[in-house]
Amino acid sequence: MGERMLTPDVLVIGGGATGAGLLRDLARRGLRCLLVDRSDFGTGTSGRYHGLLHSGGRYVSKDPSAARECIVENQVLRRIAAGCIEDTGGIFVATPDDPDDYVDAFPGACAAAGIDCDEIPVTETLRREPALSPAIRRAFRVPDAALEPWQLIEANLADARAHGADAWPYQRVVAIQRDGRRISGVTVRDERSGASTRVVPRMIASAAGAWAGQVAALAGVELMMSPGKGTMIVYNQRMTDTVVNRCHPPGDGDIMVPVHTVAILGTTEELVEDPDDDETSSDEVQALINEGEALFPALRRMRVLRAYTGVRPLYRDPAVQGPEASDDGRAISRSHIILDHEARDGVEGLISIVGGKLTTYRLMAEQAANAVCAKLGMSEPCTTAGEPLPGMGDSRAHWLGHRLAEHEDRGGGDADLICECEMVTRAMLERFLDRRGPCSIDDIRRGTRLGMGPCQGGFCTFRAAAIMAERAPDGHTDRAAPGGSASDPEGALSTFLNERSKGTRAVAWGRQLQELWMVTGIYVGVMGLEGSSSEHGGEATEDHGAVS
């Protein structure tokens, strides 16, 4: 009764970069496709990485084929997705503690993988990046860059939509039905309204990454993922304008990526059972900073805005023995693999794409799309490497001041600037809301970067909530996104602030603790935002507190 039914050619599960890229690829080959994600797009691994477009330099010694894939895709993305890339360049620096043999072999290994790599004098390196440790011994320049994931995902989805595909956020796959060996349908539940939809695709492509095991289980397929949890911390400033890597075998705290107005130090590595384990401990943060000090000695005096974790979609082939089978996450390949569950498990109509990294999302999508097309007996070629993503045809890379320049070109006044840290204008916000319809402030954050700068939403969040409320007609109760809605700006604010505070827990000291106290003071003390303000003086009539 009332259950919708859809019959696309392909159902893509997972709205990260790989899923979005896959949707684009399939749609361009003429297939009718639907993508669903249990949450907003880019809330899983893609939105929780350090922001690096790899040159491949990081993998040259341990995994040369991954390094080669990186540099090829790096060049492709510079052509098709220039607007999401800040061409910061990257350097690998050798500290006194880094092994000579690794450092000596580095330029040769880069050359072998096809990565441009020049040694630059230490004095020049320090002149360009004066916050770097003066103790560094050598420095090599590579074509690393910073890559903005949400914009990339949105652009892929936009192109897919232009080719007839559809993509739905907040739609969770709750059941996969089988008719013997063959998958016969999928039940998808709307996380906001609870309504369910039955989807009967010819093929399912699971791009659920670290959650691929959970999706496969719904189809009765055993797929053991080894989610690799990585913690990163965000600084309130760009102490470097270049991506800085440590020239040693990959370890904790050895990369700093300038991302828009902030910089991100990564990463730890820990295998976890549950891909939803996103707890960040202050021990992990301290360990990261301890290591990071080898690159930037003043790190401990700089302000940390927040810490967050991402989960790498690592997959261990059960057939593989040796170091790959160990508990050391760094020993597991970063390469991707496409699992044909018909050949592997005897279940028809399902493939999974696992492993991999954001830099190679397009290649992963291409290979997964090839697999899907082969199953469907099609031979259309992939066109995603040649055609720029929508709105990125002019091939101009993003640069730090571009939003300010655009704002000034338009002669825009201060009143239009809703988020001063990230230069989000009212027009940008309204365009996003036009496109997305009812959504949460967290969705707006990913869509526009509102609240991602040094004040972490302290001064702009309530403006966004107010604009959402202004747009919603009076007396209208909309279908709420999880995390508040236009008809309840106060609830939306509570949810957003609770969420942001979670990221502060592991970095609550010094200036950042002070900032947390001030922002809480403003919202609770001056603005009266409380879990239940109705408690005062009378009975509680409504719970407008956080959505859990």
Binding site: S282, T520, V526, S533, G537, G538, T541
Partner: protein, 445 residues
Amino acid sequence: MPSADAVVVGAGLAGLSATLALAEAGARVHLLAKGHASTHWASGGLDVAALPRAVTVREAVARLADDARHPYAILSDALPPALEWIRGMLQHEGLPYVGTIDGPVVPVPTSIGATRPAAILPAAQAAALRPWEPGERLVVCGPGGFKDYWPHAIARGLRRAGAWWGSAGPERVDPLVVELPGVRDRLNLDAIELARLFEEPGWRWDAFAAIRRALIIGGLDGPGRMALPAVLGLDDHAAVLAEATSELPLEPFEVPLMPPSVPGLRLYRALRAAIVRAGGRVQIGQAVVRIGVRDGRVVEVAMEAAARQFVVRTDMLIMATGGIAGGGLVGHPDGTLREPLLDLPVEAPPAMSWLAREPLAAGGHPLEAAGIRSDAELRPVDASGRPAGPAGVRICGSLLAGQRYLRERCGDGVAVASGWLAAGAHRPSAPRRDAPQSLAGEVAG
């Protein structure tokens, strides 16, 4: 080297109160602070105490004072005369406050469309305190192009069930956005800029006329009040408020905004003016970096200055350096909370339980109650109640342990009462009782 009868460190409400009380009593007093304090982002009201199911401020204070570890256990006797005193001072400076500790705590609108409990407010916010009569309307009115006051969102919030805690609110709430001359195109428009505009008589005449017109066009007449952003002048506030009240058909009241807080600035400026008038000195902009101690007593206070230290000789130090927000307590990555000037013993929960999972959950963060414990005369003591730190030190304001000022809304009351009391204990005429003596029994009650 300059010398003073007392040095007060910190320019929040506690430090200003202590300095003013000392200056008034004829002491040579020097206030030193690294910068402005919470006055610049607070509401400008006097939050003395508000608790669920406590009808009046006095009732809430009594309940808090029942807890021997709360600052009000020490301060509740000093509180009424201290409040009386500071309100007299503010009145004298042209910034009268309305409401009493025996009046009811009522919901007043905020600029996110919620309400906060209040009882004692500056005159410009006073109309929000009066009970709403049947048939009264509220018009939420703000200038177009100002991004810190959104009438539609505020009105929507105030119409929500529960916004007025189940008590009678206005019969209806309507938003009204008014285009004021030249506002929309300004390149930099914050609350202070708007307050300055309102100080120009010609501009505000036009502004009030525009609001009147918009009310008529919108059919928003009849009995009621209007909620305006808190920008009705800064230095010339009294004149702007008087004119707003006489020129607008609905009784206006100000709603505090995101920082910078104009009502808070008025409060700060009024107290500073009173201090200077009474002969006190105020020096803000550099951090106090060292407290000189000799033979167990404070002897001098050193402040950073260009290329050297500025040192004031004194044997009385009033620390009003604030809690975590103000920097009087500093959290460290190793999970300790420390008092940076004298390394006084800090009472704090273990690092693992500093923060609640949700900052807006009732009760707030466990760390909010952290601070320095004191005896009944505001001398710092350690966990066992023994004197801590050098002699000659008093602590006040949000540095005091045992309060959750955001949830109990007691920050301003604790600040004024402790500042006043600390100053009283230091008045030259008052008997000096600085010899170490344990008052632990008294404190623990």
